[in-house]
């Protein structure tokens, strides 16, 4: 099973997220992550959905998504080079005296310490899934108290003309 990142442009209306989520449930697909937010055009939202499946399953999923009246376009970003980013906030057990040491760890990841308390601090990191996973492994040595991460936001790279991207 392959991982796919699907970009879905939808009408920004109440209930659209439910319709999309229901479709996944109804058709037996799993949503690994989903992010929803505004777009360049008012009244439209973009959903970035990560899901697994073989080509046939993904093809079917995209067609089913496209049948929803509030869905305007569906693109499988994984078919072409694309950029994808997640954001994570990681609360780690640490005293202020360990600040320098931790800074040394997060810096190569271009992450930042965004909050410092008496016995814990918060690291903020953006990047692709692997990068965040890698930083997490290092921070686990200190003790991760709390972790929250977003799903991916993603976009096709500019070198691919928009029309070449597979849309249904």
């Amino acid at each position: 099973m392959q991982q796919h990142t699907i970009s879905v442009l939808v009408n920004d209306q109440p209930g659209v997220l439910t319709r999309v989520a229901t479709l996944f449930g109804q058709r037996g697909f799993n949503i690994d992550s989903i992010t929803v937010g505004g777009t360049e055009e008012q009244g439209l939202s973009r959903m970035i959905i990560s899901t697994g499946g073989d080509d046939r399953q993904i093809n079917q999923l995209m067609k089913q998504l496209h049948k929803l009246i509030d869905v305007i376009s569906v693109t499988n970003l994984s078919e072409n080079p694309f950029v994808s980013r997640e954001l994570a906030l990681i609360k780690v057990t640490a005293s202020p005296s360990q600040l320098a040491e931790l800074n040394g760890i997060v810096e190569p990841f271009r992450a930042a310490i965004v909050d410092v308390g008496p016995s814990s601090l918060i690291v903020q990191v953006t990047g692709d899934t692997e990068k965040i996973d890698a930083l997490l492994v290092l921070l686990q040595n200190y003790g991760v108290i709390e972790l929250t991460r977003t799903g991916s936001v993603a976009m096709a790279r500019s070198i691919v003309p928009a029309t070449a991207a597979a849309t249904v």
Binding site: P14, G15, T18, R19, Q26, K67, I69, I72, S73
Partner: protein, 578 residues
């Protein structure tokens, strides 16, 4: 306003609709329905739809007050299937709306155009678990083509326009409009858009010339081709194109259950129904074909038996469907055309030529003669199959027949040879018991001059038989044929075959006397227990100018054959005990 609209209004004595006039949401809705040329509304009132019912009072609409909302929606569905026009039903909020759910799911599975209007509590109460509040748009998301919750009266005309467009175009389906009471009461100047623009929605799909050429090429190379014609033929009104195409190319046609009537069952090239209870020839055709051409058929598991690898093992599958999501969904295909069957065939016919299929056709003909549908006759015992044969012979296949769900449904599909589209009306996808009788009411309302027969089981009829009140009240001359085996026959068959005769909860011997039940509603009731009685009683029923219920007392332990048991493939077909 269009010329036709003005004519319609004049004809029906509707006061001319003034644009810009301040009217309530309820009045707005009804004006929109007039402009959509709706004539019949099936419904049931309640608190949340009181404003709508108040506007209906004395209006031009013919409103049918069923005795249950399920009756209303199945009747609207029967009306839609019999005409191709959208069926319209109204229910109140909460329990009224949830009573529509089975009917909505039924229409969705069989791609039937419906517009379902529900009332809801006022927006100030939404989300408070108010009296009779139900989130019906949420409940029905998985079973509608689309749904609307109307927040503002100014959106209502656009929404109604879109709802009718969505319900009737592309792959048809049910659309729900939920109107809170405050919107129904609010006033605004009346407008109605003259066109629909829904970004991202593809209503019609005319295939490209290249696709059609590829389709024709794949078909013309075949020596043992067969067409699998589904409900899409009927939805697209493509029966003439199908006939021309089949005759020109010399390709035999299998009608799926939903496609019965889309190609005449009496035609030389007809192989009738395939699948679980289909006939030997149709299933052998699929097993031996080198090319299966699916036209508006979805390769349902009642045909493939879910064993898609073993289904049509020697064939390349060519698939035409208006819904692109159906292509490659259930079976692997060699050629696909995302398009409306009617326009695809219209483009294909001039390019197509006859296949080298005469040897194949004569092989199929041999099978047809050798293995017809058959059953054992048994003296004075009335066999259910004989009842259906009687219905067929007495109407020469010209009636509109609706069925409920169970053995009688399969026997109707087998023994009544449907010649015309929209003459067989049955819940195929969902298999909804209780559907047949109210659907017949809708079909008869649409076609007052045709013979409409509702074939029902003694089980399913009892799920909606309260609608006898309707046929009595409006003198709707539906002929109800109860195939009464005093049990849940189809369940009994499965228990006999797969559960070692352990007949759990199928006994219906304690049912009402159906003749008296009919009479209690002021409807003529008749009974027959032998073949001779059946003939006499049925002739009397047909001659009667009004509704009739005929209780055919049939042999209990009769099974539907042929049968491919669940889990088996089409080549493991049991032909039955005779």
């Amino acid at each position: 306003m269009s010329v036709e609209m003005a004519e319609l209004q004049k004809k029906n004595g509707i006061p001319p609709i003034q644009f810009g006039e301040e009217v309530s949401g309820a009045e707005t809705l009804l004006r929109c329905l007039i402009l959509e040329q709706v004539e019949y509304i099936f419904g049931y009132p309640g608190g949340a739809v009181l404003p709508i019912y108040d506007s209906l009072y004395g209006s031009y609409f013919k409103h049918i007050l069923t005795r249950h909302e399920q009756g209303a929606i199945h009747a609207a569905d029967g009306y839609a299937r019999a005409t191709g026009k959208p069926g319209v039903c109204i229910a109140t909020s909460g329990p009224g709306a949830t009573n529509l759910v089975t009917g909505i799911a039924t229409a969705q599975m069989d791609s039937v155009p419906l517009v379902c209007i529900t009332g809801n509590v006022a927006q100030s109460l939404i989300g408070t678990d108010a009296f009779q509040e139900a989130n019906i748009t949420g409940i029905t998301i998985p079973i509608t083509k689309h749904s609307y919750f109307v927040r503002d009266i100014r959106d209502l005309p656009r929404i109604v326009k879109e709802a009718f467009h969505i319900a009737t175009t592309g792959r048809p389906g049910p659309v729900l409009i939920d109107i809170p009471k405050d919107v129904a009461n609010e006033k605004a100047p009346f407008t109605y858009p003259d066109k629909v623009e829904i970004r991202g929605y593809r209503a019609s799909l005319v295939p490209s010339d290249e696709q059609v050429q590829e389709f024709v090429k794949a078909v013309s190379e075949a020596k043992r081709p067969v067409i699998l014609a589904g409900g899409g033929i009927i939805a697209a009104q493509a029966e003439k194109e199908l006939r021309d195409f089949a005759e020109k190319t010399r390709i035999p046609v299998i009608n799926t259950f939903m496609g019965l009537g889309g190609f005449p069952g009496t035609h030389e090239l007809s192989l009738a129904m395939p699948g679980m209870h289909g006939n030997y020839t149709a299933n052998q055709a699929l097993l031996n074909a080198d090319c299966v051409i699916g036209l508006g058929a979805r390769f349902d598991d009642r045909i493939t038996m879910g064993r898609t690898k073993e289904f049509a093992p020697k064939a390349r599958i060519v698939h035409v469907d208006i819904d692109p999501a159906e292509l490659g969904k259930n079976v692997e295909t060699a050629v696909t055309v995302a398009g409306d069957v009617k326009s695809t065939l219209a483009k294909a016919i001039p390019l197509a030529k006859a296949c080298d299929s005469e040897a194949w056709i004569s092989q199929l003909k041999e099978w047809k003669e050798q293995y017809p549908y058959k059953y054992k006759k048994d003296g004075d015992v009335l066999k259910p199959q004989a009842v259906i044969e009687l219905l067929y012979n007495s109407t020469d296949g010209e009636a509109i027949v609706t069925t409920d769900v169970g053995q009688h449904q399969m026997w109707t599909a087998q023994y009544y040879k449907f010649k015309h589209p929209r003459s067989f009306i049955s819940s195929g996808g969902l298999g909804t018991m209780g559907f047949g009788f109210p659907a017949a009411i809708g079909a008869q309302i649409a076609h007052p001059d045709r013979t409409v027969i509702s074939v029902v089981g003694d089980g399913g009829f009892q799920m909606t038989n309260q609608e006898l009140a309707i046929v009595s009240q409006y003198n709707i001359p539906v002929k109800v044929a109860i195939v009464n085996n005093q049990c849940l026959g189809m369940v009994r068959q499965w228990q006999e075959l797969f559960y070692d005769n352990r007949y759990s909860q199928i006994d219906l011997t304690c049912s009402p006397d159906f003749v008296k039940l009919a009479e209690a509603y002021g409807v003529k009731g008749l009974r027959a227990s032998t073949p001779e009685e059946a003939e006499a009683v049925w002739a009397e029923a047909l001659a009667h100018d009004g509704p009739v219920v005929v209780d055919f007392r049939v042999a209990q332990e009769e099974n539907v054959y042929p049968m491919v048991a669940s889990g088996n493939t089409l080549d493991q077909m049991e032909l039955g005990d005779d």
